[in-house]
């Protein structure tokens, strides 16, 4: 039960974080289409780092349950 609740909260934060990155990247690409490839790389790196933090939280929520 607590694991499920924890996972839900993690997904909430993760979705919000990656969603905001996507939003920022798309707005930046719309403003400067010629920088798309660089923005894309930076976007994926930032998303991966957020995902990493979320994965830590998932592992901890499994371990303490």
């Amino acid at each position: 039960m607590s694991t499920a609740l924890g996972l839900g909260v993690i997904i909430l934060g993760l979705g919000l974080g990656i969603g905001l990155i996507g939003k920022g990247a798309m707005e930046a690409m719309g403003r400067q289409p010629e920088m798309s490839s660089k923005i894309q790389t930076a976007m994926i790196i930032a998303a991966a780092l957020i995902e990493g933090a979320a994965l830590f939280a998932i592992v901890v929520s499994w371990l303490i349950s």
Binding site: S37, T41, I44, I45, A48, L49, E51, G52, A53, L55, F56, I58, V59
Partner: protein
């Protein structure tokens, strides 16, 4: 394209059938969790297909794999089919039994001791077996060798600057993409970038081929190699060593001394930096493991819908959902290989680049 779709549907149909037949094997009550855990785990034999599953005349085709055990300073090698013929196998003075894909040391009558949680407490021999995952990795090696061997032969025959032909057309854009858009972008010195290229290319294609083999729903695929924590741990440790062995003096100075930062903040920053050395590969390990395992679990769960509901009428739902998940997993297979390579390159870049 149409051929591709036909093949895809055919693959799926055959794969779904194989799973279906295996499911009924265990009889009346269908346990989705058990089935899923069995499929994403490792095993000592490679199950191909079962006929008349659950019936009296059940007949399943499995590929036996070699079991290699080290016990009491002795090496024991035999095929896993031996466990079917004789349940208890003599290893020198002791005996071994296979229980839920795990080999335990027992007495002559094969007694297993369970603790209060139901876990087996018998000792295990050191197990170096060629399991399903290892066999699938060897298959991956073979495919990569064939692919790149053929491409390399083409370059040897026609010269490095010739127009690419055949397999080279598949390999060259991928290699150039990794070199120009990942490695040279993150590692500024061209000499150093080319020095790390062989490792990063190997990393990318090795993860990619294993992800793709894992997505093939029938023999010789469907193993969950890149969703195995030992596999991703090994890759992460190699990346960790590569990052730290080739790190510049400047990088270590900034990690341990943090120059230019006031002392009170330094007390907090330096431990965080040191922990950061280990969390980076740890996150690499977990990311690949979690993404691939989650993909396998989702596809298997969608397949189990039919068996949980116990009706064929649910199969259109299963097929449509699984097909969509397969497309997504196909993307994820490439994306995770890309991200693992990109982040490793990024960390190497941080460690080896000169200060600005």
């Amino acid at each position: 394209m149409r051929l591709f779709i036909c093949l895809f549907v055919l693959f799926f149909a055959v794969g779904g059938r194989a799973v279906a037949e295996e499911l009924t094997e265990h009889g009346e009550e269908f346990n989705a969790t058990e089935m899923i855990m069995h499929h994403i785990g490792d095993s000592h034999e490679w199950h191909i297909i079962s006929f008349n599953a659950g019936a009296e005349n059940e007949f399943s085709v499995t590929m036996p794999l070699p079991v290699i055990l080290w016990h009491n300073n002795g090496l024991h090698v035999f095929m896993s089919s031996k466990f079917h013929n004789e349940k208890i196998i003599a290893l020198g003075d002791d005996y071994a039994v296979l229980e839920h894909g795990h080999i335990y040391i027992t007495d002559a009558s094969g007694t297993l001791v369970h603790d209060e949680n139901g876990a087996v407490t018998n000792a295990s021999p050191l197990d170096f077996s060629i399991t399903r995952n290892v066999a699938s990795m060897l298959l991956g090696f073979a495919i990569l060798l064939l692919l790149f061997g053929t491409a390399a032969n083409g370059y040897a025959k026609r010269g490095g600057l010739s127009v690419p032909k055949g397999i080279q057309l598949l390999v060259e854009p991928a290699v150039l993409f990794i070199r120009d858009d990942i490695v040279r972008e993150q590692i500024h010195s061209k000499r150093k970038a080319d020095f790390f290229m062989p490792y990063l290319l190997t990393l990318f294609f090795f993860i990619l081929i294993n992800n793709l083999i894992g997505l093939v729903p029938f023999f010789p695929g469907a193993s969950n190699l890149s969703g195995n924590i030992s596999f991703t741990l090994t890759l992460a440790v190699i990346s960790f060593l590569t990052i730290n062995i080739f790190a510049s003096k400047n990088y270590w100075k900034h990690t341990f001394l943090a120059p230019g930062i006031p002392l009170p903040i330094k007390i907090f920053i330096v431990p965080v930096e040191i922990i950061g050395l280990f969390t980076k590969p740890f996150a690499l390990m977990l990311r690949l493991f979690a993404n691939i395992t989650a993909g396998h679990i989702i596809i298997l769960s969608l397949t189990s819908i039919v068996f949980v509901l116990g009706t064929v009428a649910a199969s259109p739902l299963t097929i449509i959902l699984s097909l969509m998940m397969y497309c997504l997993e196909f993307l994820v297979a490439f994306l995770q290989a890309y991200i693992f390579t990109l982040l490793t390159t990024l960390f190497i870049g941080i460690a080896v680049n000169d200060a600005h």
